[in-house]
Amino acid sequence: MNRLRLPTFGGLGATVGIVFSLLAAFWILMMILLPVSYMADFSFRYDLPPGKIGGPEDVHTLDNYRYLLFGPKGSPETLSILGFEFKANVLHLNVFFKTILAAVLVTIIDFCICYPVTYYMAQKAGGGTARLMAVCLILPFWVNEILRAFAFRILLGTGGVVNTTLMDLGLLSEPIDFIRLDIALYAGLSYAYILLMIFPLYNALESLDRNQIEAARDLGAPTWRIHWRVVMPHAKAGIASGCTMVFMLAVGALAMPQILGGPSNLWFTQVIYDRFNTSLNWPLGAAYAFVLLTTCILFVLLVMRLFRVNLGEIAK
């Protein structure tokens, strides 16, 4: 009698199949698709008091996006490009583009720092050493991001360890304000996401046959060309994956800029945070979040195009 199986659920059986489908459906609908769709819809609405939500005034508008580009109505701020004056939301646009550029910079710094170490780990170090190195890499990653930011404050604050040491040695007469110069922030962000660059790179570099390097060397290629023409093309998917992860995390970082950012320097996520916590305007915050999400998607598509890899290889 037990042999009577329902054909549905691919042999899972009705009870297990229904329970599993309900769990997965709840996750996909209530935790992934609907929240993002609601956020997108909400970003096209006016900021209304609770009583008016769902009322006749609750209609769609492009106002929030207009605000990001042009600022509040009647704002005198202008931006001049090639001699033309444009009305613009200079502050927020500045923050937005600075965040993107800074995240790209952090990604490049991380790639430059991590590539030699990962190459050493994958190709030169023995199995035991590579294993030990991997454990050492994971350890700092388990320390909370906020505490890692705090460590950089201790190091790089005006009265911090680096400044006092340099002054005691007589190399500096007065402290350097690393925080105001954004050096602390870039150092902290590059530090925080090292592991996410190294792991995909390692997986890609480890599978490279050492004979290929030997062959290139025997044919007389200098070291830089071996890396440029043999090692990097082989590790393409790993490089794309590592760069995407670091960029996404850096652009979406919130704790590091809050703790290590200078007083006048904002990160775009901080602008979003302010819409939800200080200058309450949720639809505007949702619009900014949606712009951030779109930017991230565009970045992933760009990386996929540049490196000619597919999504599966990036998300691995």
């Binding site: 037990n2 042999r3 199986r5 659920f9 042999g11 059986g13 297990v16 599993f20 489908s21 769990l23 997965a24 996750w27 996909i28 935790m31 992934i32 698709l33 929240p35 609601y38 956020m39 909400f42 939500i53 769902g54 720092i113 170490v117 994971i138 350890l139 700092p140 388990w142 320390v143 909370n144 991001e145 906020i146 505490l147 705090f150 460590a151 404050r153 201790i154 190091l155 604050g157 009265g159 911090g160 360890v161 090292i194 070291t223 996404m248 995390l249 979406g252 970082a253 919130l254 704790a255 809050q258 703790i259 996520t269 945070y273 939800f276 949702a286 979040a289 951030l292 999400l293 599966g312």
Partner: protein, 278 residues
């Protein structure tokens, strides 16, 4: 030959420098937990003290935040592990076209910035609560519930990936055999699949808890008036500088190192045992 040796020495030196950069900040932060200055630093060194640990444990905000984080972490484990398991098993039953769409949807929260998950969760449940006319004391407006929902949306994906890796090694013949011998589907699930997945269930639960415990970007939006350990820490670190935070950092680093050593010892013992058997 000597040129190659110089090159190897240089790369070795670079690797050393890299690890110094990796551990330097953490070592200095840990050391500052024991320095008798009012300000977290190691220069100047004013003598050894443990008063910051006493202060840490007497801090009410941190204690309450840690309790909230603990509860939310348990909630996330209870939501994410079953969802991850169900989603992974369902994935193995789909045909290849449906599977690639399904995979793209369920993996997307991993790539999405945490801030956006926080914003969308907050907006979604708030609007749902307003639309259904729910009261402000209902779960729609509860920081614990929202935070579990927000965090579990991407932590479930981590759990699913762990289960998928384990399921790849699952022999379907076991299932077939049990069914042929008259077991029900529920029995097959409980007596074959769950025991097979037990190590994965354990790792998924540990990973889910730790990820939840240290999450900030999503939590800061969904937590509403409550406070978790990370939000308490962030406001403390931002406002002022207090060596009792170094004390907390030292404890977390010490626990992490002990955990890593224990894991390593266990892995080596396991490798030796299976090596001896094989």
């Amino acid at each position: 030959m000597s040129a190659a040796r110089i090159k190897n020495a240089m790369i070795g030196f670079y690797v050393l420098l890299f690890f110094a950069w990796l551990f330097g900040p953490l070592v200095i932060m840990s050391a500052s937990a024991f320095n008798a200055t009012d300000f977290p630093t190691v220069t100047p060194w004013r003598g050894f003290t443990t008063e910051w640990f006493v202060e840490l444990f007497s801090n009410r905000d941190i204690r309450e935040g840690a309790t909230t984080s603990l509860l939310i972490g348990l909630g996330v484990v209870l939501v994410s592990v079953p969802i991850g398991l169900a989603a992974a098993v369902l994935m193995t039953k789909l045909n290849s076209r449906a599977r690639s769409i399904y995979y793209a949807i369920v993996v997307s929260p991993v790539l999405m910035p945490g801030v956006i998950i926080g914003v969308s969760t907050k907006v979604f449940w708030d609007r749902l609560g307003t639309a259904t006319g729910a009261s402000f004391s209902s779960f729609f407006f509860d920081g614990y519930f929202l935070t579990v929902m927000g965090q579990a949306s991407f932590i479930s994906a981590y759990c699913m990936l762990i289960f998928l890796a384990r399921l790849q090694r699952f022999d379907r013949a076991q299932e077939e055999a049990a069914l042929d011998l008259g077991a029900s589907h529920v029995q097959v699930f409980l007596k074959i699949l769950v025991p097979f997945l037990r190590p994965a269930i354990f790792s998924a639960a540990v990973l889910a808890f730790l990820t939840s415990f240290e999450n900030y970007n999503t939590t800061v939006f969904t937590i509403l008036p409550e406070k978790t350990l990370t939000t308490v820490l962030a406001s403390k670190v931002r406002l002022g500088t207090d060596p009792s935070i170094s004390a907390l950092a030292f404890l977390i680093i010490a626990i992490t190192i002990l955990g890593a050593v224990a894991y390593e010892v266990k892995a080596r013992a396991e490798a030796r045992r299976t090596g001896a058997v094989g």
